[in-house]
Symmetry: C2
């Protein structure tokens, strides 16, 4: 096969690789397609399906549907998963689901519509179906939805030797396990032992003697954001999940926690920008428009506030029309300052670096920073205004308005997310619109108001 | 001790807990302080030090300096680490460093100034010092800086029994290890075995027979962003690091990769907002101001472009002064649309969902979304303008300008980061300033230009 192209799978999907695969699809060459796809990692096949057009995807799935397995379905983006599942024969989907651990099946099912969910549930055998339904009974975005139910446990009093014999005799073990969880007779987890310690200890050592300090539990109904925080804060690899009576019901591993952390970041970034947090470049134009229109409409209303403020100063603008050209400078620089302060505050709230313990101090610091930068910008703008227009009074108006708006921006950027957070809302949600409205209105008001006082 | 307060360490630091600790500091009660701090996780002690004032920190460290260990120094934010290290007696710092794995020592040292680095290096014993200096010789933000050099390996031909005997006999094993890496006689890693498989297999099974498909290597000079991508894409728990000859030099574990992923997100979010990517709520007011001033100054210049555009239409504004009040509506709604499109594109570039394979299709979709939302907003604004001002021609001007600017915003939001990315620059860097300048200038130009044509 010296004349055909081979790709290193090391660094994700290569655009040239995509082009070669699409050639095979277009030529209807199933053998070549299989040869190209077969060695690829499920995550890369999923990326491929995401990055080609809907029509190409349809063709590829028609040629290769039998090979789509559970891992691929599990890797594929929510944005196109339903479409892919619908394109597959029911037998292929059923077989794919049977290969997966419960947490992965739950992850796939929870984003599907009711009929598609039912169709898949009905193909599972009764034990798996029960496990999946139990997981789906936990609230959305809870630890219970994230956990796998397959857990390796041991009675507290066992020795290393007993444990190893037990593991060797086990017919089946989870794909991902890093700890053996010690439980009391009522199935309440009390500690855990890493596999590394287990392997390096003598057979007669008691498990109790080699437990880890890092052991923690989380309740199945706790929000998944707490799971991500716990793993990140305490460098956990796995965490036992308990029910309201403290009994072990499952375990969450770090790959799931990393996934949640990634999604939380996506949410923060997109919400801050005023977009639906499930927005994706895979959305169609109509979906994209729909996910953005709500905040655009809100902004249309808030922007009208600026218009109302400006219209109160029409007489001033009529007298000195150059003010109309200058007023966006103050408003726009305020908008940037507000966005800066906001991004730092939202990030700090997400990482819990900004708390009730230091909120007051952080607000004072923002005030200081706003004053300092306000002073710097006011000097430059005031000087430029004075020199360009030969009127020092215009310079004074520009620099004073800039000063005021920079302080408002710095304070608004931290106070808006802090207030949303205190109200139990997501500090990233809509903060951007609030803060830029604030800096726009304040920028126009301060500039035109001062101009009316000083210049008329 | 029924009358004193105890806190559950489960969910991070509690503001009430901080208040109680500060009381002990103020009272100079070292015994109480120790009682409160001693059971706390190093990550929570670090958070405590971050959230109190500089003065309180100085007092607390003076009372409790002997107990600050390597884990605490390793958890503490870069923003105050240097300050904390300087406040500690050199002996305490040296002792703290000796407890840590090389990757953690490197992580601490790389952010310190040269003299502080030297002071700490000189306290390490020669083997550790050599290891740390070798790691520091790798480029900043490379895999080599992240890896730990402590690795558990086995010759390819070993059996499970030989491996377990070897581990039991080992005097020392790394804190974090999840795989045994199989190496060839030249120390080139060829595969790995999970500890779970090792524990559950019979002693006579060959290691070769139970290796994992997920095995991958990364080169020590590769950027750490690639490390984060690899772990996230392929759900790795650990990854072997090789030198340019393919020889094993270390291993990176998922906790480090998770950390990098977190930092990458922070960078994207802060850069997009035009703030230095190391900004933190722990910065002083002067540091905060300094990290934000550069983009504010840039914005002062770009905002002047809008002023120049508007000033070309002074005659129009003089004739119809209400235009001055209405023009920010078109500009500001364009700014929001540009920010929305930008956030989605920057995120997709970071997760490698937006690539050369689908860039063209994504740009077309943005155009479609811009047209759809432009149409919707144009209808509302046009109608409102017509009704409020009793002039349908003003409605036409408002809606046409809105339409144009929405399309420019949607396209700018995706084309600016794509272009930066193609130039090898960070797509998040300064995109925000570019895009809002574009939508401001275009918004004012389209609105005032059309008004001049239609209304005068």
């Amino acid at each position: 096969m010296a004349n055909t192209t081979r790709f290193e799978a090391k660094e994700g999907l290569d655009p040239r690789q995509v082009a070669v695969i699409l050639q095979a699809v277009e030529a209807g060459d199933t053998a070549e397609l299989t040869r190209l796809l077969e060695p690829m990692h499920a995550a890369d096949v999923a990326d491929l399906l995401e990055q080609i057009s809907a029509e190409e995807r349809r063709q590829l799935l028609a040629m290769w549907s039998g090979e789509i397995d559970g891992d691929i379905l599990s890797e594929i983006s929510d944005a196109i998963r339903e479409e892919v599942i619908e394109a597959l024969p029911p037998g292929v989907v059923a077989e794919a689901m049977r290969e997966l651990d419960t947490d992965d099946v739950v992850d796939i099912l929870e984003d599907l519509e009711e009929p598609a969910q039912e169709a898949i549930l009905s193909t599972l055998d009764s034990a798996d179906r029960l496990a999946v339904e139990q997981a789906l009974a936990y609230p959305e975005y809870s630890a219970g939805r994230l956990m796998q139910r397959e857990v390796v446990t041991a009675p507290e009093h066992w020795t290393v030797g007993e444990m190893i014999d037990h593991l060797r005799a086990a017919e089946w073990l989870p794909d991902q396990f890093y700890h053996v969880i010690l439980v009391d007779p009522r199935m309440r987890p009390v500690s855990y032992v890493t596999l590394g310690r287990l392997l390096s200890s003598r057979r007669d050592v008691a498990l109790k003697a080699i437990v880890e300090e890092s052991f923690r539990t989380i309740t199945a109904t706790d929000p998944e954001a707490d799971v991500a925080y716990l793993f990140n804060q305490y460098h956990l690899i796995s965490c036992a999940v308990v029910d309201e009576h403290g009994r072990l019901v499952g375990v969450i591993t770090i790959d799931d926690a990393m996934n949640v952390l990634d999604e939380e970041h996506q949410e923060d970034m997109l919400r801050l920008a005023g977009v639906d947090d499930e927005s994706s470049v895979l959305d169609t134009a109509a979906e994209t428009a729909r996910r953005r229109l709500p905040w655009l409409m809100v902004n249309l209303v808030t922007a009208s506030l600026s218009a109302v403020v400006i219209s109160r100063f029409e007489a001033t603008i009529e007298a000195i029309v150059v003010l109309a050209a200058l007023m966006p400078i103050v408003a726009s620089t305020g908008g940037i300052a507000g966005t800066q302060s906001l991004a730092v505050a939202v990030r700090a709230l997400a990482t819990r670096d900004l708390t009730a313990s230091n909120a007051r101090r952080v607000v004072w610091r923002e005030l200081g920073a706003g004053l300092l930068n306000g002073l710097g910008l006011a000097l430059v703008l005031g000087l430029a205004g004075t020199l360009l227009f030969g009127d020092w009074r215009l310079g004074v108006v520009l620099s004073s308005a800039m000063m005021v708006n920079q302080v408002v921006a710095a304070l608004g950027g931290v106070l808006v997310p802090l207030s949303l957070n205190r109200m139990g809302l997501d500090p990233a949600l809509a903060s951007g619109t609030f803060v830029t409205t604030l800096t726009d209105v304040m920028g126009f008001f301060a500039f035109l108001g001062l101009a009316t006082l000083v210049l008329l």
